[in-house]
Symmetry: C2
Subunit: 467 residues, 2 copies
Amino acid sequence: MLDFTATYTDLYQLSMAQVYFHQGHKNDIAVFDYFFRKNPFKGGYAIFAGLQDVLKIIDELKFSEEDIAYLKTQDFDEEFLGYLKGFKFNGNIYSVQEGDVVFPTRPVLQVEASIVEAQIIETLLLNFLNFQTLIATKANRIRLVAGERMLLDFGLRRAQGPGGYYASRAAVVGGFNGTSNVLAGRDFDIPVSGTMAHSFIQSYDDELSAFRDFAEGRPRNCVLLVDTYDTLKSGVPNAIKVAREMEKRGQKLLAIRLDSGDLAYLAKQSRKLLDDAGLDYVKIAASNQLDEFVIKSLLEQEAPIDIFGVGTNLVIGSPDGALDGVYKLTFSAEKPRIKISESIIKITLPHKKQVYRVKNDNGEALGADVVTLAEEEKPERMFHPFEPFKSMELTGLKLEKLLQPVMKDGEIKIDFRSLTEIARYSKKRLAELPTEYKRFNNPHIYKIGISQNLKEERDRLISSFKK
Amino acid sequence: MLDFTATYTDLYQLSMAQVYFHQGHKNDIAVFDYFFRKNPFKGGYAIFAGLQDVLKIIDELKFSEEDIAYLKTQDFDEEFLGYLKGFKFNGNIYSVQEGDVVFPTRPVLQVEASIVEAQIIETLLLNFLNFQTLIATKANRIRLVAGERMLLDFGLRRAQGPGGYYASRAAVVGGFNGTSNVLAGRDFDIPVSGTMAHSFIQSYDDELSAFRDFAEGRPRNCVLLVDTYDTLKSGVPNAIKVAREMEKRGQKLLAIRLDSGDLAYLAKQSRKLLDDAGLDYVKIAASNQLDEFVIKSLLEQEAPIDIFGVGTNLVIGSPDGALDGVYKLTFSAEKPRIKISESIIKITLPHKKQVYRVKNDNGEALGADVVTLAEEEKPERMFHPFEPFKSMELTGLKLEKLLQPVMKDGEIKIDFRSLTEIARYSKKRLAELPTEYKRFNNPHIYKIGISQNLKEERDRLISSFKK
């Protein structure tokens, strides 16, 4: 059992919290931005995921008795531990909706809370949002190439420990149809599916008996793995025999599965054997080190594959393995805060903010989000964050407000949606995005602009810092 | 909360289990090998980790009422569900000790159980062992280059969700000294440590006040982050001021931390400033996208860094992200089983087996493990698995038995060791391995031999299959 108590955090959050607590900053209101700096997978976008899970945990987050006893051994003092005993996150969280298409360098989520509370939830937030956003994005790239074909997550065995549980969920946000992961299926209401292992066939003296037993024991959604001995000479012919036997019992073989060899060639040959046997309804599933590039190649070769089982590369978000999401202070103790850096793109945007998506009258995204101060009116012009002569007129365009309150004074303010609804929303949002942003090679770069007020505030803070 | 019930598995395990259950194979005893095919990170070895965690879970593994209710909706029948309700793993597990140095293609762990039970635990076993072995190996590579310097895991925020919890544990098996992950520290008795975030300094109007407050509030193990504004002109001079103030209070500043810029240059300059101020006891910690290669380079440049904080690259096991461990049937229904493949190295070794490490009289590993049938005597000669003319005399050498019973009839048969003991054992085992196997570029390939009896059995099965 892995219980997400408030010690699911980095020690320094608690160290800083104790210092704030004692040095008069306990009630300072702070604002932090969650954002990432680079799209994963060299792509043009990311799919935001993990929000509902982390909100649920934050809503109930506390330090258990075991936590307090442990922290006592780590040099925290009684008064501060007393505070932790009664800890409850009472802040506000503003966020993009789960499943939305999001882009680098602008706030995806904002936390506004006492600086102590905001620090304590930082690691948890980053851990959940970075990972699920990574996996939802990976899943979505695979969905983009797979069209309407069925996509199943088979990754639990190679997942990063219990990360696999949330990977299965995030895969659905990104467009997957189901998972082999039973626990994730149970908890997130994801359709579960699966076939059979090579070991099942090996445990019999011959392949045909194994297929027969399996088809009798699990006739519904029956998928037979045909590559244990020889796909075209043994596996598919035996599957055809069993499919015919199933027909006599009024049942239908759902699919055969290919798990090795040249999948394009084997799928074509198997399709032919099945069709020649009058089994055109039997689908072909394929697995074995798949990712978006392999699937793209298979489909370009016109491999007649109906179902793709994707494992490792999906659930570990290969090759990136991590999203570089960060949590940056933008306001505290009644002052805007800025992080200065030698590298201009690493300078943060101060103040509590709002983000708008620029759209035309047809609801199509025009390839730009604009960041403003939270309290200002919708801007009429947006400015390039660093190039002073670049700006764009916004009058006449629609500006859609992206950050909405999802938690207010520690209470969840949204109705949770089912994974199916989140995935549907994600699909809709992605459809609003022109295709140039979705290609794998050198995708069009989505613009992030800032309002004049935000620009002036930022520049004022930079100047005052330079003095 | 993430509860590891028996649905922490792939659906096909349960589908196959139901078929075995009804088709007269319920009590067939099966043997499965857990092994991996390739060393991670193009290295010459792996560090086996995760065993104690997974044994603990298997020991208590059951289907909860929620699981049973869920499975009822997934087309499993009442009789089989009745069996699952009373499920308990009653089999045997033989394994290498946690922390040992292990190599590709030979069994690291063997499960001997009814085929139903053996299938149900497969995914859980693979999920835990693959991930922790990956991370322990990564950690160990970092340890090899870092010498005696302190290594801290700072990765939770970029970890693959709750995978980070076990990553912190596995890092210690591989030689790390501590973690920032408080929950892992609490549960696995790992020293926790941490410094401060840039946000802490930003939340103050000036760096010196931030340092002062922090040093007052957390004087023990105090580490000041010096790169927020200007490392050499502001951060280090302010840290020196605070260190002197601490001295007056009878306290000592533990370290400064560098988190950006040219770490080699900044460490050298910072060291000089500290030493010139008479603060030679103040250590230098560094973080920022570190891995074994960056640390190696820093130390080759003689950067005076005492503490390395390693995050993302450690906890996600970058760049591999997964270990390719598999679980292969080698015996069932009273017969040895073999998996045939076009690719000769993918042909499995049949039967329940034993593995010996070949050593000389001084206890040094000679670079070979030999796999035998479980019941045979220690072999006098080992054979190359696929090249018929290669063999090696073993008489006069020591053969150390590696697979020991760790679970017998479902009961844990070993005394659990602390992480410190496991890490110490790992260090000892690694010391027994000649250095050529530990280098990063083209490490010497550790040999896996098989006994004559095993070779004959395997060849017999291949021949009978070819007929």
